[in-house]
């Protein structure tokens, strides 16, 4: 037994080994066998498994002065006060005739008590912060739902702030997150399936969908892709995303990342599947289309005129963020006749002292801008602002007066930078910023023609791309007139009577279809 557990603990500690082997060892080496009736055997086994784990507490005590028992838990993952008050206190002053588990279970005033039958179960429970009670002469143990650890308070997600609308955001704890979802969608049709992945991290992954809206095939497909995952650890939902997305080589995100429960709930109501990963405040939504990445929740919280207008502004600046510098380079080096004479003369004057060709100048500035952005993002706030001030001086005034870059170029880079920050999702912004560079090369090589060819190549990729079976540019290409109304404009809520990309055999209507006429009459009468 000792050798067994020795091997086991070595296996568990050696991070170098294939985790699959570790998993196999657990299965093979009879740790899965039932717990022994001898308390000391069980404790010895667990002590070996948890060798060198200083945070594992083996609290030995005696129940009712007769029966020896051990409470095993991880320090910091449990609520010590509750353990003292609700487990240890009743047991120690106990007056039971027989110390069987069922009796003990009845004695302890805790809602969630489960039976632990094998060492594996015990380890699982302990790792999850559920204290395990092992009792003399019992081949089973009990685990209590008294886990509690430090977690962040629910606050507004900084990466997706809105002016209007709910300010709560997901946090690192998956239970809190599912609760947040459940608070938005109170129907029992909101299903949340749970699986665990990660051989070492044993991370919980929740798959949330609304039964009756989401297509069963979609849910099946998500489960089918999740099942075979074998990985040592999952620290963020991106790990999962990369393992299950359709095209792992695409620059474009095929799942939407959000930290906002309202966004997740909105997509649930459109028939999407939401993946929550324990330890990550950002959940993943699938399937999505390109346009989902360019929509902000605020579009729906503002009046629809404003929502539509802002959406168009965002589309425009999305195009600018992709094409800004390349169009500038193309016009400046290929199509000078397009520039009105006075403007051309001004530009020519500003470029007179610049030693670089326009293409190099643009590349230089864009790279500089990206570096500044990255430096600013990684630094503490106090230093970050210093970086941005220095950066602004470096790539702005000083570079111009030193004659290294021209001022129109600085303007173009600045506008492009702002444009790329306008996309409501960070990941599409960074994709576009990356694509900007090959586009600049194409523009410097063939002018407008190069830009157009570049656009065609990007579109070609986007048109072949799918997110869980949904074409990425879907309502536009292939054209689906019915769904266009939420892409080109943000239609009034009362007109959104149908689900987008819903399967044909499901119920399409999301609100009473005669709402429009009804409320119209109502308006008249008042």
């Amino acid at each position: 037994m000792i050798t067994v557990s020795h091997i086991l603990s070595r296996l568990l500690r050696s991070g170098q080994r294939r985790s699959a082997q570790a998993e196999q060892s657990i299965h093979h080496l009879q740790v899965q066998a039932d717990l022994s009736e001898e308390l000391h055997v069980n404790v010895e086994l667990l002590r070996n498994i948890y060798a060198d784990c200083s945070d594992i507490i083996f609290h030995e005590f005696v129940i009712g002065g007769r029966t020896r028992a051990v409470l095993i838990y991880i320090d910091g993952l449990i609520n010590v006060e509750e353990i003292d008050r609700h487990v240890l206190a009743p047991l120690q002053r106990d007056n039971l005739d027989e110390h069987s588990l069922s009796n003990i279970r009845r004695t302890i005033p805790v809602t969630s008590i489960t039976t632990v039958k094998t060492p594996v179960d015990a380890i699982e429970a302990i790792s999850n912060g559920r204290p395990v009670l092992l009792v003399e002469k019992e081949p089973q143990g009990l685990s209590f739902g008294l886990s509690e650890w430090e977690k962040r308070a629910i606050e507004e997600p900084t990466s997706e702030s809105v002016l209007k609308g709910p300010r709560e955001g997901f946090i690192e704890s998956i239970r809190t997150n599912t609760a947040l979802l459940r608070r938005k969608v109170r129907s029992p049709n909101l299903k949340i399936r749970m699986i665990r992945k990660g051989n070492y991290t044993r991370t919980s992954i929740a798959i949330a969908y609304i039964d009756g809206i989401a297509s069963p095939a979609l849910v099946e497909e998500v489960m089918r892709r999740l099942q075979p995952i074998e990985i040592d650890g999952i620290l963020e939902s991106t790990y999962i995303e990369e393992l299950i997305e359709d095209n792992p080589f695409s620059l474009f995100p095929q799942m939407l990342a959000t930290e906002r429960p309202d966004v997740a709930a909105a997509y649930l109501l459109e028939g999407c599947v939401v993946l929550l990963v324990d330890g990550s405040p950002s959940v993943r939504i699938a399937p999505i289309t390109m346009y989902s990445l360019l929509q902000s929740p605020e579009d729906y919280y503002e009046r629809y005129f404003i929502g539509s207008a802002i959406r168009w502004l965002r589309y425009l600046f999305f195009a600018i963020s992709l094409l800004g510098p390349s169009l500038y380079v193309a016009i400046l080096t290929f199509h000078q006749e397009m520039i009105p004479t006075p403007l051309l003369l001004t530009m020519a004057r500003s470029r007179e002292q610049i030693p670089f060709p326009a293409l190099i100048e643009a590349l230089l500035m864009e790279t500089m801008f990206e570096a500044l952005r990255e430096a600013g993002a990684r630094l503490p706030k106090q230093i970050g602002s210093a970086v941005s001030i220095v950066g602004a001086l470096v790539i702005g005034q000083a570079a111009i007066s030193a004659g290294i870059v021209s001022s129109p170029m600085v303007m173009v880079v600045a506008i492009t930078g702002i444009a790329s920050f306008m996309s409501p999702r960070f990941n599409i912004g960074i994709t576009v910023r990356l694509l900007r560079f090959p586009m600049m090369f194409l523009a410097g090589f063939l002018g407008f023609l190069g830009v157009i060819l570049g656009i065609i190549i990007i579109l070609n990729h986007l048109l072949t791309l799918r997110s869980f079976g949904v074409p990425y540019l879907s309502p536009l290409a292939p054209m689906r007139n019915r769904d266009l109304k939420d892409v080109l404009i943000r239609v009034p809520t009362r007109m959104k009577a149908e689900y987008p990309h819903a399967p044909a055999d499901r119920n399409h209507e999301r609100q009473s279809s005669d709402l429009w006429s009804d409320s119209g009459n109502g308006d008249d009468s008042t």
């Binding site: 397009m338 407008f448 292939p478």
Partner: protein, 377 residues
Amino acid sequence: MIEKGKISSYQLGKMMYLAIIPTAILTSPGITFQYARQDLWISPLWAFTGVIVVLVILRLHHWFPGQSFTHIWERVAGRTVGRTIGAIYWIFYLYVNGIIVREYGEFIVGAFLLNTPLIVITGSIVLVCAMAVRGGVEIVGRFADLFLPAFIVLFLLILLPIIPDLNIEQMLPVMGQGIMPSITGSFVLQIWFSELMTISYLLPYVHDHDKTGPSIWLTLIAIILTLLISNLFTLLLLGDLTGSYTFPFLILARYINLQDFFTHLESLFMAIWVLCAFVKICVFYYVTVLGAAQSMGLSDYRPIVWPLGFLLTVFSLWVAPNYQELAHAISMSVVFAMLTMFLVLPVLLWFIAWLKTSGSRRSQRSDDARSLRGSSQ
């Protein structure tokens, strides 16, 4: 079937519209003007070929649903004839596409990138087209979905600002020499209308057959209207000079002047041209690849996409040593060749098929026709 993708009828219509319009608005005003003079805007109305071709092809596909043009030949005239005609067709498509690629290249080099080698221009467009064609008919169809609105916007962006510079008197006298000049002028236009025959290769992949007819007729009408408008605008701006410019419609874009700021928008025209030429080359390229795969009996067309792309680039150089010869050929002998391939042969096929089916109808009702269809699958 080689192709697993499906397109909708409207995608087919959009594809054909975009595949016919670009070269037509670019070169047709100049050539038509030679015969029709100030009546050149009437010429697009004489779209006889378009009507005949669409009628014949739709009829054929009604009789043989789900069959491509080559397959119908095989059904009707026997395997050897069908295979031969299939081979001739894809080689002809390769040749026509070579002309298109060449025209595209000549236009870009002649008007925009004066010093860039032609091969770079043609090679790059064939490269991106090959990428799209490998994606199959679905991808090409979606490109058409995306580019049609872009085309319309850009087209209007050229037409609307030029309106103040138009001189309505340039179009007078209407039919001063009678109706004949405009009909003669429409002679060259027939090659563009006859290109509608290409739908015959794409119809098997359309999933909503009930809308095919309306969609194709709508496409034909849209083509006629677009040509009419572009020819009319060109005439109203350039008058007698229409025939003198190589690319008259380009002058329209160059002549735009809005508030002295938006001037010389020919690059806008280049954008239109490249987008549509891309769709056009893709459609013809796809048909070439598909036809070649079918006539060689391959199980997949993708392996031959790149080799045929290379061949296409070579053909674009081979079709003519210089642009003048090409332009002359386009306005004369190539018209006859295209009419033979895109009009005469389909009509012939229709005629043979009609004889066969009507003969069989008398004896066996539609059983024979059904067996004709059934045995091919």
